[in-house]
Symmetry: C2
Subunit: 357 residues, 2 copies
C-alpha cells in the first residue's frame, strides 16, 4: 500500500485458470503507466513459470502460495466451511488485511459471495450484497444490479440495490446525479409483480435524495433510459445473459452477411480498414466482463468463470477503476440515507408505508 | 369460412391504429396468392377511406362497424366489464361465432387476454393462457413463453407452458420432436428459485412424452440450445424486450461504424449491394412482431401496441401460419398428456411429487 495500488487475484479461479489469470494480468499491465502491484494467490509451481513468460510481469507481482482452491461446482455453504486458506479465501482476505484494495476472482460466484460476506462483512444497513454489471448504452455505460447474487428479493432489498447502485454509478461513471429506474414489465402502475410495486412505493415514500424515475422495461436497459437499473438477481442475470446471447447472434449474422458474396466481402474489407474493429470490440462481451459486489466493507470483482485472458484483463481494469474511485465513500453517504428510511421519523411519512420485509 | 381463411382484426387497437392496421393489412396481402379475407372491426367512417387508398384491399375486406374501443391503459378487469361491443371484443367474438379462424389486435395486452378468456374460454387442464413469442435463433426460430401474460407463476403453470409451447412449436415450426428447456440462472441443480426447481422436478416426475432438457440460461435463448424456452411472464417479457433493445443498440453501432469515415462508407455501400439489407431485416424487431395466446379455444395474436404497418403485417403473417397449422389438434394431444399428470395413476410415480400448487 505504500506505493500505488495493489490488486489481489484468485489465480486458481475460473475454467481456464491459472493461465487466463496470468495472461490477463499481463494484458492488463501493457501500456499502463501508473504503478500497480499484483498479488497472485495460488499454486506457486504452476504460477511461477506462467508469470516468467511475460517480460516485466514478475517485477510487479508477488505469489502467495496455497495448495487449496474452491471447486467451481461447490455449494456456497460448503465452500465457506472448507475454503479457509484456498486461493479465493486468501485473495479476499488480503483486502481485510489492508494488503490490497480490490480482490478479483473468476471462480464460483456463490462461493465468492459467501466468502466475501464472511471475511469482509456487510456494511451496516445492507441485508445482502448485490452484483452490479456495467452495461453498454448509446452513451457510456449503464449500471445494472443485481445480476445474480439474490434470486428472490424483498422490496426493501430492491431499495438497497437502488441506493448501492446509485453510489456505484456516481463513483465509477462520474455522473453527479445518476437517474435510477426499477425494471418491470410495463410502465403503468397497474402492471408488474407485487414485490416490484411495493418496492416502487417504498422508494417514493422514503423521500431519498435520489433521481428516481419509476418503472422501466427491458428495452430501456440498452437504450440507457436511466443510468441505474434495479432488479432482482434472477431477472438481472437472465437479462444480462440474454443480451450477451443476442449480441453474439447478431455478430454471427454480421459475419455471415460479410462473407456471403464477393461484393459483400470487398465491402467488409474496406469497412474493417475503417471502423469494423471498433464495432467488434464494442460487441465483445469480454470487454464488459466484471461484476462488482456492492454492500461489503471492501471491493470484490467477479469475472466470468469461462473467461479467457482478454476478459480477465477487463475485470482487472474494472477493479483498478473501483480502487481509484470514491466508491466506498459514496456508498457510506448513500447508506446513511438508507438508515434514515429504515427508521423513518414519524412526521416524515407522506403516505403510509406497506408491510414489506 | 366457405372460401379460404378469414382473419378478424381489431382495427382500433394500437398506438397508431387504425392507419397502422389498414396499411399493415395491405402490406400483408401484397404478393399473396391464396385467398384470405379480412374482417375489420372499428369505426367505419375512419376505416372506409383508409381501406380505399389501397387498390384491391376493399375486395377482400369487410368492415364491421362499432363506435366503441378499449382504452390502451384500461385495467383488464374494467376492460371486460366495459368492452362488450368494442372493436377488440367483436374481433375475438368472430372466432367464437365461426366467422374467422384467428383474431389479431395491437391493443391493450391485459384487456385482450381477459376478453379472450371470457369469450373463448380456456381449454380443459389449462389454468391460465400464456403468450408465446417466436425468437430468432441461428437456425430458424425458438419459441419462448410466457412473455407477459402471467407475472407470477406456480410450478404447475410452468409445466403447462412446456406442454403448450411444445405443441405450438411442432405445429408452427414443423419440428417433429421439439426440445424444451426451463429458463434459470444456472445449469446446476442447486441454482435458481424454488419455483423453478419445483417445476423441474414436476416435469421430470410426470413422465411426459417430451424431449425435456432441463435448465438453460439467458444466452441459450438466442443460441437456440432448445426449441422451446419455458419461463414466467415477468422474466420472459424482460428477456424479450432486453433482446430487442440489444439488437437496436448494436444496429445503432453498425450504422455509426459504417458512416464514421470515407473508407467505412465505401465499404458499407458495397456491403449493402451485397447482403446488408438481409442483415437489417433479420435484426428488425418488426419482423418478429406477434405473440400468440396459447391455451384458449381459438387463436388470438397480439401485436406490439406501438407497432407500425410493417410490424402489424408480420402479426398477420403469424396469424395466417397459425390458422394454417395443425396447432389446435397438437394442443389437444398435448393437453391429454397434461391431464395424465394432473391426476397421475398411483403406480406411475417414479419419485414423490412435491406440493406445488
Amino acid at each position: 500500500m505504500t506505493t500505488g495500488l495493489v490488486l489481489s487475484l484468485d489465480a486458481m479461479g475460473g475454467d481456464h485458470a491459472p493461465q487466463s489469470v496470468v495472461d490477463g494480468a499481463a494484458q492488463f499491465l501493457k501500456g499502463r503507466r501508473r504503478s500497480v502491484r499484483l498479488l497472485f494467490h495460488g499454486d506457486e509451481s504452476e504460477l511461477a513459470p506462467l508469470i516468467a513468460r511475460h517480460a516485466g510481469l514478475g517485477d510487479v507481482s508477488e505469489i502467495r502460495h496455497t495448495d487449496s482452491q474452491v471447486d467451481m461446482s461447490a455449494k456456497p455453504s460448503d465452500a465457506v466451511r472448507r475454503s479457509r486458506g484456498s486461493s479465493m479465501w486468501n485473495a479476499v482476505h488480503a483486502i481485510k488485511d489492508g494488503e490490497a484494495q480490490v480482490a478479483v476472482s473468476a471462480g464460483n460466484t456463490g462461493a465468492l459471495m459467501a466468502i466475501s460476506k464472511v471475511i469482509l462483512r456487510m456494511k451496516p444497513g445492507v441485508h445482502r450484497p448485490a452484483i452490479a454489471a456495467s452495461w453498454p448504452a448509446p452513451k457510456g455505460f449503464s449500471t445494472v444490479l443485481d445480476v445474480g447474487a439474490n434470486v428472490d428479493c424483498t422490496p426493501a432489498q430492491l431499495v438497497e440495490f437502488a441506493v448501492l447502485g446509485e453510489a456505484f454509478h456516481r463513483a465509477v461513471q462520474g455522473v453527479a446525479r445518476p437517474t435510477v429506474g426499477l425494471l418491470n414489465v410495463g410502465q403503468e402502475e397497474l402492471k408488474g409483480s407485487q414485490v416490484i410495486r411495493d418496492a416502487d412505493a417504498l422508494v417514493r415514500a422514503a423521500g431519498l435524495d435520489m433521481d428516481y424515475r419509476g418503472f422501466i422495461e427491458g428495452d430501456d436497459i440498452s437504450a440507457g433510459t436511466t443510468n441505474v437499473v434495479v432488479t432482482d438477481g434472477f431477472t438481472g442475470n437472465v437479462a444480462l445473459k440474454t443480451a450477451e446471447g443476442t449480441a453474439r447472434l447478431v455478430g454471427g449474422w454480421m459475419k455471415e452477411a460479410m462473407t456471403s458474396n464477393l461484393l459483400a466481402k470487398a465491402g467488409a474489407i474496406l469497412l474493417s480498414l475503417g471502423a469494423l474493429n471498433n464495432l467488434r470490440a464494442r460487441m465483445d462481451p469480454r470487454n464488459v466482463n466484471g461484476g462488482v459486489f456492492l454492500g461489503l466493507n471492501g471491493v470484490v470483482v467477479k469475472s466470468h468463470g469461462g473467461t479467457d485472458a482478454q476478459g480477465f484483463a477487463t475485470s482487472l481494469r474494472i477493479a483498478l477503476e473501483m480502487a481509484d474511485s470514491a466508491f466506498l465513500s459514496e456508498i457510506e453517504t448513500n447508506l446513511s440515507r438508507l438508515a434514515a428510511i429504515q427508521e423513518p421519523p414519524a412526521e416524515d411519512a407522506g403516505e403510509p408505508q406497506r408491510e414489506t420485509v
